[in-house]
């Protein structure tokens, strides 16, 4: 008998994603249609364009994912979809599609927290990380350390109080005139710079929290004072971000007594961070950035909602205290 197949759908931001993953965690296909080029000329994501593009692309992306897995809709046993957090209009496209598809085919549906997807991305594939582990998720919108006892849930041990690490890269690149997205731009400029040329502040608020807005302001002041060259500024700025992330993850590991570490989110692509966190489980890049395989992957550990229980499922941008 074939293993059960989960079709994952993810449209929380500017990538339209679909993937097929088995209940055992094998990624059969993982398709991402990036809107990056469209948004580049606007300097970022434009929600109304993102939502419209999701609508246009989602059917084709799902067809690609099925074809890549050598499967048809007949083979799918469950649908998984990101319900938040994200751009509300963009999320709604994926949620509506998932509900319609599940209802039409009489399949169960699992709504997934986008961040849970990032946290358990490392449990997919042949080099799966095994719980318990700690996971640092660092992306454009989020930066936090999670403790994973069982992959069905996670506990946030610390998170950013202001800007996310990826946002610090983006805004730093903007201040330095290096373009968007900022992570690759700063990394490239930093290759020819001295990471110790400038002593940027590292902020360690609370026990395990992060703060990057003071760093950003410090860079702004340096640039305003005419400091340079830009390569040294980029290298020192990158060093400060990586230092904060790696230091905090190390402190969390000691405090929790867990030495199995994983990282996720787009910032996991940063070469200096990967070097600093040698020994941590780093999923392939396509599982670190936004993707649907991690959503289907997280669904493996979550209950499936049977028809018609999911018909009133809504996308959610709320944060509860």
């Amino acid at each position: 008998m074939n293993p059960s197949l989960i079709l994952g759908i993810e449209t929380s931001c500017d990538d339209t994603c679909a993937a097929l993953v088995t209940e055992q965690g094998e990624v059969r296909s993982n398709v991402v249609a990036s809107q990056g080029l469209i948004h580049e000329k606007y300097g970022g994501v434009v929600p109304e364009i993102a939502s419209r593009r999701h609508l246009e692309l989602l059917d084709a992306v799902m067809a690609d994912a099925l074809e890549g897995a050598g499967a048809t809709l007949e083979d799918v046993d469950r649908i998984a979809v990101t319900r938040g957090p994200g751009l509300i209009g963009a999320l709604l496209v994926g949620v509506a599609e998932a509900k319609a598809l599940a209802a039409a085919r009489g399949l169960p549906l699992t709504p997934v927290d986008h961040l849970h997807g990032h946290v358990v991305a490392g449990t997919l594939g042949p080099d799966a990380v095994e719980a318990p582990y700690l996971c640092l998720v660092a992306s454009g919108g989020h930066t936090f350390i999670a403790r994973v006892e069982e992959p069905s849930s996670y506990t946030v041990l610390g998170s950013t109080l202001d800007d996310a690490a990826g946002e610090a890269f983006d805004k730093g690149a903007r201040i330095l005139g290096l373009g968007y997205p900022g992570g690759p731009a700063i990394q490239k400029a930093a290759e020819n710079g001295d990471p110790e040329a400038f002593d940027f502040p590292r902020s360690y608020p609370g026990e395990l929290d992060f703060s990057f807005s003071g760093l950003k302001t410090s860079l702004l002041y340096k640039v305003r004072d005419g400091a340079g060259p830009v390569e040294d500024l980029a290298a020192s700025y990158q060093r400060a971000i990586v230092d904060a992330l790696a230091t905090r993850l190390g402190q969390a590991a000691r405090r929790e007594g867990i030495d199995r570490l994983a990282i996720g989110g787009g910032v996991a692509a940063n070469a200096e961070l990967r070097e600093r966190l040698e020994g941590a489980a780093i999923p392939p890049f396509e599982l670190c950035t936004d993707n649907a395989a991690m959503i289907a992957g997280a669904a493996r550990f979550l209950p499936a909602v049977e028809y018609p229980g999911y018909l009133d499922l809504d996308a959610s941008a709320r944060i509860h205290a």
């Binding site: 931001c13 606007y42 300097g43 970022g44 994501v45 434009v46 929600p47 109304e48 957090p85 994200g86 751009l87 509300i88 209009g89 992306s139 454009g140 919108g141 989020h142 998170s159 950013t160 109080l161 202001d162 800007d163 996310a164 990826g166 946002e167 983006d170 805004k171 903007r174 201040i175 807005s213 950003k216 302001t217 702004l220 941008a317 709320r318 944060i319 509860h320 205290a321």
Partner: protein, 119 residues
Amino acid sequence: METEAHAAEFAATLAPGDVVFVEGELGAGKTTWVRGAARALGFRGPVTSPTFTIGQVYAGGGAEIAHLDLYRLESVDPWLLDDYVTPERIAFVEWPKGALEGRRVLIEHAGGDAREITT
């Protein structure tokens, strides 16, 4: 700290349906100011930069709070803001880009760590 205190005092004058533009350049302390206001309005959870997510809604205190950041938007779709800005919520908007009507708070660098806040 003073930024948050200023925000707390300002927040005492707000009611559901109010929209507040929080303006100032990168690093001025806009998100810090909104955190101070959200705390004063009874929200205890995380208040972080919504630059990436464009909008966040904080629930669980008194009135729900919408926190928007239109920094990355070229133009503003009013339909998008309808999902966040409602008559039941108090809205704080960073980088407002002329999308809405609202009261204005301007935070400026005043040398060193000092800030000047005008309302």
